[in-house]
Every structure is written in structure tokens, then in C-alpha cells.
Subunit: 424 residues, 2 copies
């Protein structure tokens, strides 16, 4: 039943039925928040053992003898650096452990670049007449918010099925010196859920850039967040950068926010020793060190990458059925109608729904009126402006399966109503 | 035996004896680090109960229902805000809870002012041709490092027995619009250990400033850190600012670093709702929220200001004898000789030793050669330059009493040797 092939009378009949459905949902006075990629309580329950890892009976020393209760250890305790080195496929001395937020580390990295510049550059980015970042879109709204806050001009670049449109990326960075960076969520991207292909990774790492101090902000937020046994593989960009004399180009980020606790996890960044040295030097003015006891808790609980991978299988067993529910309803309600398209991600936290052009805002507003709060339409684009007004980010993890089913049914009804009105 | 009244022959005899003493110390191959104000392990042991406060049996909810394990709560959980409101004598909605480091909050506050400006100002401080801060000196080297990092020009202002030289402060801020801030450690100051008088507090809060967006960075690091039952009282500057229409002038900082754990404490800042709103707005781009589980641990353990005050008495019982040892040796070895002066602080973490002009560097170097590492001479002044080269910061808390006794005896011998050489 492709809407585009239906007669007006058929569409009108369909619309009437859908509107009755919608009013029924509305009368239920639902209140469901699906706006953010938040783990559900059952996921958090999986990590409660972390709270028992460190008690008053423990010595609280790191393997290098550091008393984790006291000051110091700016770069993090060695065993925590070692685990993030495994996660990010780098060496421990290329890792800095942060507080509980990798977003904070990204923000601070941009802030430092604006204020002080980065190795290989010619001074603070903030002193330049213009600084631009490439923003593969749809993308992560909080990355875009950082740029907006610092007055960095954002250039949207389309996301394709294997990563950003590299022809365009290469063209832009090759000719515009003011383009200093690119935001990437290379694995199970936010929101598309796609993983960059080897070719995209290679091209990002090796492409000539007009700016000598160009940086890739490699937010590997979902590095171990597979939904099924067989996850995607992401090529190690750092290795390619090293091999092509672009070792300072990439800065990698990750955190345990969606492994252990979003509110009390451990974040990390990794980069060349040149980048790390400059960062540590500037960080030394900002803090005496991040929370080492929480690092110790995480180390004791997870032990190594194997411990984390085992843990992530349990996480997947909770959220994978939620992704299935979303996909099942989208398929049932929308697939045949030629009004929306979506990916089937193998990991991450989102399903990205693309509607007919000009429909996303209306759909999100209608869903909201029926009690379902989605991420604001447009949020996945720089400046909150989706040029085709068609992308809707679905975050299935937080609601219960029952709530989710209802929410996605409402979303599907709204999508159909708005699409018919558009087609008519 | 005032050295200044001795004949050369007497001084020479004294010097010879002191040098023999010094060589004896040196031959012992000591290795004592007294460079930083670090709690000793016994102090940290007092707080081990914090580690048992939160286990897998707990619900981990804040009193407003927030799941402390999950994202959110940018301003901190209400009960933690309430405790810091008691500590800083403000209301809970005037408090933002940070991560584990108040230094980090100060740094970020300066960074935000440089990048975005502050309420009442005319844009980013970083866009101005010149930004200056007043630095009461001797003061805290890490404050000065922040200014240096951001290229903020530091103007040293003498510390008197009741706070900064207010005549000079008033004169400077009254005529120079580029003076945007002043660093203050108003209670048990670092390193002098003095507490600002009511008059100084009043004058700071009410003085006319040429800069409309002048800020007092009120680092109340030792607010509850009394050495004895009878501590100093500090007048509430925020109240005076409010009463004199300078409500946005002061930003207060504190942390539990030297209450619970330096490596895993909780930091806070407080300010007018105008300042707080702007800070929260900018912080929202930087992070989704700080570690709420650690906040919950602290709340469960200390409960309120009374719990903290009780705890601080135990801290005092460990470190007060150390301060006594330092003072006892300084009195015995130096008092009669008219070559050095020091305060007897009622709280805080330091004893500030002032030698004859031009002697501090040499004394610190000699002590180092005998195995005693002190804070670098000059570190307590902007740019590391003590104009009279006479201030030495003694940090008695970390070493054991035995180590401390030996270290201070060495320091006293070095002080006498260098002073005699100076007098001769």
C-alpha cells in the first residue's frame, strides 16, 4: 500500500481511520520520554557490583603505589589507562583518564584549542577570524552545541551508508584552511547506527588538509556497545594516522557511561604523545587529578576488555529486544508505504527514522501532543536545522518494552498522518 | 641571641657549629617531601566509611527522585547542595556541585569569563586588550598558575595580618577598569593561615570598582578546617555583597578534598542566581552532569554540617600536633635570633615562614640538598617571584611527626646558616 500510488479518496479514508487511532492514543494521557539515549534502570542494575568493589577494608592503592584517595595522578591510574588502551586500541601512555564525562573531555579539548591552540598549529584557534568544523549529519546534537557555544561555524556533511560523504569532506578540508576539525561517531553512529567503512577511515586519516592543525574528534562512544554477538568492525584510525605521518590528527574519546553508570562512570581520551603532553601540561593548571577511587572501582569490577565485553552482552540482552520492537512496528506500519526509511543498527543507542521531506517537525509535534517526547526534530543537524526536515532520532533504551511499543505505534500513526497530508 | 647584635667572631663560631649540624643531617640521606598541602594517610583513614555508604543494596536515588546512577542533575543533587549551602552560608539554589576538584571549578569559571564574559560585563574578557587580577601575596600558587595560563596579568598585593592591603586594593580596582578579579583564600589563608577581618570583608564587598564585571574569587578551601576547638570566624561576604547591591561580585568555592578524600571528594561553587544561571547554561554544553553517586556517598556519610564539623575535629586531632611541632622548633631555634617571623594559624594547612630578605631561595635549596623538599621559594608569589625572596611555605600535614621534627630542624639550621651569612 504505497501511499504515493493511492487515489485521493483512498488516502482520505486511510487518514480518517488513522486520526481516530491517534485520538484514542491521545485520550490515554501517556507520558513517555524518549528524547535522550539513556540506559534503563535494568541496565544500571547490571553494574551494581561496582559499588561493592571498594570498601573500608581496601587499601585503595593503584599498581604504581599511588594512594587513590589522595591528590595526584593527573593522567589516571595505570590499570585504568591500560583498560581504555585496550578499548581504544592504543598504548596506555597514549591515554588520559578523565572524570565521569567524555563530553567534558571533548568540550575541554575544543576549549583548549580555542584558547591555546594545538600542536602543529600557529596559535589559538580563537584568535583566527573564522574557525569551521565539519559536522557529518545527522549527528550528535551535543557535539554541535559545543561548536555553537564557541562560535565555530558548522558545515553539515551528509552521512552515507558507510560514513560521511568523503568526496565532499576531502574537497572541503583540502581547500579551506579555516576548517579545523570534524566530529565523528565512527561506530554505531549517533543517530544512524552505522559504522564507518575501512575506506572512510583510511580517507579521513590520510586526506590532505589545508589546515596543518586539523583534528578529527573521534567520539567512539559505542565502541563496545554491540546489540548482538556479531557486531561491526571499525578500522583503527590511529594506526592509519601514524602510518601516514598524520599521527597528531586524531583524538579518540570513550567512556564507561553506557557500560557502567552514566552518572558515575569513567571517561578517557587518547592521542599521540605530542597531543597528550600538551593536554597534560594544560590540564595540570585545571586540576590536580580526577577521581582515582572511581577508576579503581571500575578496574576491580571489569578487570580488562574481556570483562567489559562480557558485561556488554548482558546489556545487549536487555536493549536488543527493544530495538527489535521498534524495527518490528516500523516495518509493519511503514515499510510498504514508501514514506519512511531507517537503518537496522548492530549496536549503539539509536534508530534514525527518515521521513518524507518536510514532515519530521510535524510528526514530532504530533507525537508530543499524544504524550511521546522524542528528540526535537532538527536536533541531529547543526544549528538544529535539518535542511530536509525529515530526520527523527528514536532512543529505544530507556522505556520499558510495553511503553516503547505504545510510543512507536503512536510515532507510526503520526508519521502516516503527516505523510498522507503531505502526499495529498 | 639576636644575630644582628652579635660580633663577627661570635657569628663565625655559631656558623661553624651550624655547618657541622647540617653536614650530620645531610649524611642521614633523608628524603622528605613537604612541598604540597596533602593530608596524611591517617587523615584519609578517617573517611573510609564513605566507601561503605553505597552498596549494591542501595536504591541510589536522590531526595528529588533522581536516579544518581543515570544522566542528569547538572547542578548537583539537592541534599548535597544543601550541605554546601550550610558550609558556605548561602541557600541551596545558589550552589552548583562540581566534580572532585574546586580548582577545576575555579579554572572553568575563569575560562568561561575569558571565552564568554560574565553577567554585567561587556563580553568576553579574552577579547579585551588586557585583563588583570589582584593577587594577595603570599598566596596560592595554583591560583596564580591559572592567571598565567590565560595570560591574565597579575598584580601582587601585600597580605597584612587581617587580609590583603585594602588601601591598595581599593585604589587599584577604583582606577583600573582592566582589573577584573581578585583571588582570596579568606579563611586560614594559603600560606599565611590568617583569616580576613570583618573590615576587610566589608571593604571587598562594598568598594567601588571601575570594572562593572569585577569578580572576587572567594576560595574558601579551609572553611571548616580548624586546628582547635576555637577557630576563626569569617564574615559572610555574600551577605554584604547582597546588601550593597554587589550581589554578582563574589563567587565562592569549597570542596571536601581535605574533609573526605583529595582524590575523590566533592567540590562546589556558590554565587548569585544570575551568576549561577549563566554558569549552568554554559556548563550544560560541557557536561550532562557530575558524579552523583559520589555526592550521595558524601551525603549519607556526613549528613549535614554538624557531621562535617565532628569529622573535622578528628582531622584536627591528627594534624594539630604537627603544627605544634613546627611551631615549637621554630620558636626554639629561631625566635630569639630576629631572623624569621611566622604566624600561628588556627586552621588551614600551612605555616608561612618569612626569613630575612634575600634568603628564602638559598634556604630552600640547602634544605633540598639535605633531603627536605619544600614548596619552591617564590611559588607563593605571582610568576614565582617573591620580590623580597623571603617567604617559605611549610606544609606540616603529610609527614609523620618524627619526619616533620627532623625536617623542621633541618629547615631551622639552614635558615640560621643562610641568615648568618647574610648578616655577616
Amino acid at each position: 500500500m504505497n501511499y504515493k500510488n493511492l487515489k485521493t479518496s483512498q488516502l482520505e479514508k486511510e487518514l480518517t481511520e488513522l486520526k481516530i487511532k491517534y485520538e484514542t492514543f491521545k485520550s490515554e494521557n501517556l507520558k513517555l520520554d524518549m528524547s535522550r539515549g539513556k540506559p534503563c534502570p535494568e541496565q544500571l542494575d547490571l553494574s551494581m557490583g561496582i559499588l561493592d568493589c571498594l570498601t573500608s577494608e581496601d587499601i585503595c592503592k593503584a599498581q604504581n603505589g599511588t594512594d587513590c584517595r589522595n591528590y595526584g595522578g593527573l593522567e589516571g591510574i595505570p590499570e585504568m589507562r591500560a583498560i581504555f588502551a585496550q578499548i581504544l586500541e592504543v598504548t596506555p601512555d597514549e591515554v588520559i583518564i578523565g572524570g565521569n564525562s567524555s563530553l567534558n573531555m571533548m568540550y575541554d579539548t575544543v576549549a583548549r584549542a580555542m584558547q591555546f591552540g594545538v600542536p602543529g598549529g600557529e596559535g589559538p584557534w580563537g584568535k583566527l577570524p573564522k574557525v569551521k568544523f565539519l559536522c557529518p549529519s545527522p549527528g550528535y546534537d551535543r557535539h554541535f552545541a559545543i561548536c555553537e557555544s564557541f562560535g565555530i561555524e558548522m558545515i553539515a556533511v551528509d552521512m552515507k551508508q558507510d560514513g560521511p560523504d568523503m568526496d565532499l569532506v576531502e574537497k572541503l578540508v583540502g581547500e579551506d584552511e579555516s576548517i579545523k576539525g570534524i566530529w565523528c561517531v565512527p561506530k554505531y553512529s549517533n543517530p544512524d547506527g552505522i559504522t564507518y567503512s575501512d575506506e572512510v577511515v583510511d580517507r579521513l586519516a590520510t586526506m590532505p588538509t589545508k589546515a596543518k592543525d586539523f583534528r578529527i574528534f573521534w567520539d567512539n562512544a559505542y565502541v563496545v556497545h554491540h546489540l548482538n554477538e556479531k557486531g561491526d568492525n571499525l578500522k583503527n584510525i590511529f594506526e592509519v594516522c601514524k602510518a601516514s605521518s598524520n599521527i597528531d590528527r586524531v583524538i579518540l574519546f570513550a567512556s564507561s557511561s553506557k557500560i557502567s553508570f552514566p552518572g558515575a562512570g569513567v571517561a578517557a581520551m587518547a592521542a599521540s604523545t605530542t597531543n597528550i603532553s600538551q593536554t597534560i601540561k594544560l590540564m595540570a593548571v585545571q586540576t590536580i587529578g580526577n577521581d582515582k577511587l572511581n577508576q579503581l572501582r571500575h578496574v576491580k569490577y571489569f578487570k580488562n576488555i574481556d570483562g567489559i565485553n562480557e558485561h556488554m552482552k548482558k546489556q545487549a540482552s536487555i536493549i536488543s529486544p527493544k530495538f527489535d520492537v521498534v524495527l518490528e512496528i516500523l516495518e509493519k506500519e511503514l515499510e510498504s508505504k514508501d514514506i519512511a526509511w531507517w537503518n537496522k543498527p548492530k549496536g549503539g543507542y539509536f534508530i534514525s527514522l527518515n521521513t518524507l521531506d518536510g514532515c519530521a517537525k510535524k510528526i514530532v509535534a504530533m507525537a508530543k501532543e499524544a504524550g511521546v517526547t522524542l528528540t526535537g526534530a532538527g536536533a541531529t543537524y547543526p544549528y538544529g536545522k535539518d535542511p530536509r526536515d525529515r530526520n527523527i532520532r528514536i532512543a529505544p533504551t530507556y522505556p520499558s518494552i510495553e511503553e516503547l511499543r505504545e510510543a512507536i505505534e503512536i510515532l507510526a500513526v503520526c508519521t502516516q498522518i503527516v505523510s498522507i497530508e503531505k502526499v495529498m
